[in-house]
Subunit: 114 residues, 2 copies
């Protein structure tokens, strides 16, 4: 039975950003998940994830705080209890201009190359 | 661009339970999601979802409150910021014995028959 608290999962620094950590909450390796993985991001005040794109989608749910999410060629404000679908292939980026942590879940498909 | 707040999504009563609602936050129909769907459940005090099983998995993250989740032949307490992987084919059920709402996200694979 894979039931955990976030405090049990290591926070790793996100290389393609600043002041940002990721926790891999549910994956094939820790839980045996075969179709999609759940990650938790914390972007600290002044932090960001740089613009990038890839051929898989994101399903994101904001748990705490607020931040700017860029998708395609526009930016949007995301707050607690908002959620977004970022389609495959579309450029996106994240920036925390607030003075508190911005925390969100981001679910991705299981990487095909793994 | 599909960016929403939970207040924009209809709450539907869950038939296979009591005092429980579901919101389909991200699906093929509203967001164009092709691989997995995000739902949000609220189980009110005294509410429950009855024991059942199906051939797809759950990835669940507790947003608020606490409740009892049964998986297989055991029950566990789930609180805020805990998460669980329920494998395909395993019986599971939910019961809120607390005096506040129990709220969680539950991600499922896109149903194959749809």
């Amino acid at each position: 039975m894979y039931l955990k608290h976030i405090s049990e999962i290591k926070e790793e620094v996100v290389d393609m950003g600043k002041k940002t950590t990721i926790q891999w909450l549910i994956t094939d390796k820790n839980a045996g998940a075969q179709n999609y993985f759940m990650r938790r991001f914390v972007i600290k005040p002044g932090g960001e994830i740089f613009k990038h794109a890839h051929n898989w989608e994101h399903e994101i749910y904001c748990l705490q705080g607020e931040g700017i999410i860029g998708v395609g060629d526009k930016e949007y404000t995301m707050k607690k209890d908002m959620f977004v679908y970022v389609p495959p292939g579309v450029e996106h980026w994240y920036r925390n201009e607030s003075d508190e942590d911005w925390v969100f879940l981001c679910i991705i498909p299981k990487p095909k190359q793994k």
